[in-house]
Symmetry: D2
Subunit: 347 residues, 4 copies
Amino acid sequence: MPDVVGMAVIGAGYWGPNLVRNVQAHPGMHLRWVCDRDLPKAQAVVGNSSTALASANLAEVLADPAVTAVAIATPPSTHLPVALAAFAARKHVLVEKPLAPSVRDGRRMVDAAERAGLVLMCDHTYCYTPAVTLIRNLVADGELGDIQYVDSVRIGLGLVQRDVDVLWDLAPHDLSILDFVLPAHMAPTAVAAHTADPLGAGRACIAYLTVALPERAIAHAHVNWLSPMKLRHTIFGGSKRILVWDDLHPTQRISVFDRGVDLADPGIGLEARREALVSYRTGDMVAPALPEREALAAVMDEFASAVLESRRPATDGRAGLRVLAILEAAARSAADGGMFVPLRSSS
Amino acid sequence: MPDVVGMAVIGAGYWGPNLVRNVQAHPGMHLRWVCDRDLPKAQAVVGNSSTALASANLAEVLADPAVTAVAIATPPSTHLPVALAAFAARKHVLVEKPLAPSVRDGRRMVDAAERAGLVLMCDHTYCYTPAVTLIRNLVADGELGDIQYVDSVRIGLGLVQRDVDVLWDLAPHDLSILDFVLPAHMAPTAVAAHTADPLGAGRACIAYLTVALPERAIAHAHVNWLSPMKLRHTIFGGSKRILVWDDLHPTQRISVFDRGVDLADPGIGLEARREALVSYRTGDMVAPALPEREALAAVMDEFASAVLESRRPATDGRAGLRVLAILEAAARSAADGGMFVPLRSSS
Amino acid sequence: MPDVVGMAVIGAGYWGPNLVRNVQAHPGMHLRWVCDRDLPKAQAVVGNSSTALASANLAEVLADPAVTAVAIATPPSTHLPVALAAFAARKHVLVEKPLAPSVRDGRRMVDAAERAGLVLMCDHTYCYTPAVTLIRNLVADGELGDIQYVDSVRIGLGLVQRDVDVLWDLAPHDLSILDFVLPAHMAPTAVAAHTADPLGAGRACIAYLTVALPERAIAHAHVNWLSPMKLRHTIFGGSKRILVWDDLHPTQRISVFDRGVDLADPGIGLEARREALVSYRTGDMVAPALPEREALAAVMDEFASAVLESRRPATDGRAGLRVLAILEAAARSAADGGMFVPLRSSS
Amino acid sequence: MPDVVGMAVIGAGYWGPNLVRNVQAHPGMHLRWVCDRDLPKAQAVVGNSSTALASANLAEVLADPAVTAVAIATPPSTHLPVALAAFAARKHVLVEKPLAPSVRDGRRMVDAAERAGLVLMCDHTYCYTPAVTLIRNLVADGELGDIQYVDSVRIGLGLVQRDVDVLWDLAPHDLSILDFVLPAHMAPTAVAAHTADPLGAGRACIAYLTVALPERAIAHAHVNWLSPMKLRHTIFGGSKRILVWDDLHPTQRISVFDRGVDLADPGIGLEARREALVSYRTGDMVAPALPEREALAAVMDEFASAVLESRRPATDGRAGLRVLAILEAAARSAADGGMFVPLRSSS
């Protein structure tokens, strides 16, 4: 296998040009094709100055032996057939989130990849930001203590989309980060969701997800397409420290707060524990310096390495499947009045 | 009746000193007593330079004919007996939120006030801020159009309290504002709540409330004692404009955003409507100038006027009762797994 | 001498009520009088519930043997006669900034206090905030290294005042903080100023001060009455760390940034030093927790202690005089086209 | 002349890749060459997937008849020879700011372009942002009234550079914006500057510029490489409205504040005018919606149009020259102790 991965990007819509730009900029990749049913669109993404080819014919692209792998940025409903065709042509696959529109489809993709011995990576872009990488490491190293709550807000004016509602559009970000950051023994146990379609748009534009975690912990996400106030922040409340990730604060994305009182001290009796609560207040805060790096460049790094080393990427198809399982259960909860829907331990 | 209201403040704890300061500063009030079971505490609040008296004996205070009205800032569980004693002594009552620890207690207070023909005002302080007054007026004047969603976040490091959980401590603010701002035909129809006590503190420290409103609209509140990031903001999403109230942004508390596309236009057919959604984006924003005024001074104005004019205050006992009804139903929902609990139209 | 300081507040204008409130709230002080030429104004500040007396007659107030000290909040042009009368009556004096409208007046006040053996304290309020106290300590302990630059911005919509221009109104804050924080060997050596009166208001509404410090260091202040954007921040650039004080960011007033590269390392040669610069970038940041405390309460503490212990307060008359010397030189520079005006080492 | 401009980018350092990316993305341009003395650097910028060629030989590039124009992103000291060579080869020139290291060099470039009848455009990138375009229009339409002051802050951690000090690195941004926005009758009349090199880096790392404008107005810029707090904002104070441009606030870049009182009303007498000042306070604020557009794309639009239409671009060589004149005078003022240095009306 060559040490430069020949790439085809399938889908020249909203996200496709970002993939194209990052493939072109990656020293370990070589862009061969941009493919879209709408040929002029594909040609526009290729531009005047590229050696890459444009095509409206997926079969033509997959027949090119110089193509080692494809990046799929088509609508979710088409992920399964495109991925199956790619695996049939023995191409590795990087696919946009959500992995598929259903757990059923997603599982077929995972099974096909595993049977073929090919890489299937889900582009959970946020997991490759310096911020989320740091959060994962701090949690793994015990710096935050036990995770007690995770609260995520991802709101702004979004395009109301044909294919997906706000839950399937935005919550995959929060759920993939949760999946990436939480240790295995803290895997979600149930999910409840309340959604609203106050515009009568035919699909939910506002959703609130509550995720039950082991050990009395809780996670919550607010996703919303209708807010003119743009917010992107998540709080990771730990028993030792509390971390705030504010993705729109470029000079201070991560703030780690010391807690004045450690309530987890087993030597404190119940009464003292309650007293202690009264004096609970914030301590010093540390904002670690973060490198500047485009997440999508790191996604390409990981995908290229996984392909060249024939190994599982950090966010493989199974990670995408775990996210799908929560999304499906959340949709069921929303339809049924907001009750908690239990999650089977998948993966 | 004199045109200066003789006042006694009952309770010299956290909030009492604020009441004392505002009573003293009000030209239409005269502070006679500060009363607390803990006499040195009452004396400390009175201070060196005041003509007011300190007492640990409620009966002594209520027996003073120069006292026209009392302001109650004791723990919620004592609101009912203190208020009933005040009414029996023919004093008007201003009481801190929540009105009472239960709808049952609250209703007894309201009934007692109405039977006695005395003023019962609930100190829903936020309703008297220049910001909330403006929001109410904008909604009443139709400037926002139909309310489609209300999203409120009220989080920070709070004192974990003995008497109440976070729901009863913080959500009364959001619910009283909702009650004050929404027109009557948009009264909440059901409430669901998810809470967590990840510290094992014996009471909820995090709560998420979802309030179903008529016409597919939704309200949501996140209240949290455990967040080192302090946030106090509410979005009022209307069909014409969207208003963001950020109470921690002193120079721009209110931002009113135009919507680029009016989806409520009845002339737009369904397909065009869906197309329109795609181009939905923000328009200009206006931040109206707001006067600087301490809300508690306006509370005192309203209470003094209501007493002198023998009329219902803007946030009377019945408003307090409507808030209590939602709190009780929310607590029930949280205990039962987060299902929506319907609300009877009270008041 | 009693251990409660009998106080008179002279001047019931803008700042007087703040002094009155803090005197009343201070356990070691007792408010006897509020004095203003405009008697109803004095009475309004005293209010309905205070034991203090109102007067329009300074002599009457100074004749009261229960008055140990006076706090002067009259216009600057009257500070000298009021203070001299107070010293003649053997009262200690706390005076608002600026100490006096000229170095000449200020020196007479300082001399009179020292001859009489009485306390003269200048109310450099900001020096008593938890933030500035911390900054002073960090600088004194060498935590920032050598101070290389200080940049201060204090702008907003201010009242254009009759008595003073923006330089004399706002720059005393920045200069008193500089005086309080910098070690003695870093005392300013020269000052330049550019001012503007673009409204034709008859006095400067915008001023830029550049203060030359020893060792190639520089301080700069921008004060402005005409900015709708309110800013209050100061950067203290040190050779080891850089501290940012943002007084309008209540939850993160102080941020201390590590520097990635220590250019002061004497072991680095000139060429390496220049190379090093290229990789100069920010390190981690720490935001220390600060206590919540009203600065004016700490001013009262310091003044009461200085009176009771017959000692110099932290911001004595001489500190006020050093600030005056810079203000006078800055006014001269502004009038002369912005040249640096040298400062004699005063005090 | 073809309607696609064949382009060569000279200089593959810090800014070159941005030019390359925007040339490649522009439908009216075709990238032919990336040229840098360091060939591997040029090749890296071209990348794996481009049809463009890399070269270390300027003559080879200029000899290519398919090259219509060059974009120069080399160090300022080389701008003159590269531009002269380009003009000699009859290529149009887009050059990075500052136009040249001296007015003398800059004038030679302008003269050469005018003699040859070729386009010389200075890449004053900020002038092509949606924000600055709007500001220029608002000023031109009289929406702000007369400009009374302009205050600009552009600070952060910058690379200490070999070729230029902070004045020549950052102040061109502020001065080119001032040149672009101010009407001709408000052209700067003098400049003063104070600079500091507290690190002993051999060049100024902090600079304060004061620019005298006609009609008592003033402009000021603070540029600083040593601040860990990153700020990029400019206030345009007008007699009718005040505009704040905060370039780091992506969702509210422009805020336009109404003034409560119009002091310019000629019917107000002097005394009333002074009284009026007292009640001066902020009015409502409007934040106009701005399109999202990369400024460099608009730079390419303007350059391509100017080349194809053989016309002067909006920021031509003369605009670059006016900026140079202020920079040179500022450097002289800083060397001479901060006195105002008069500016001759150039252009």
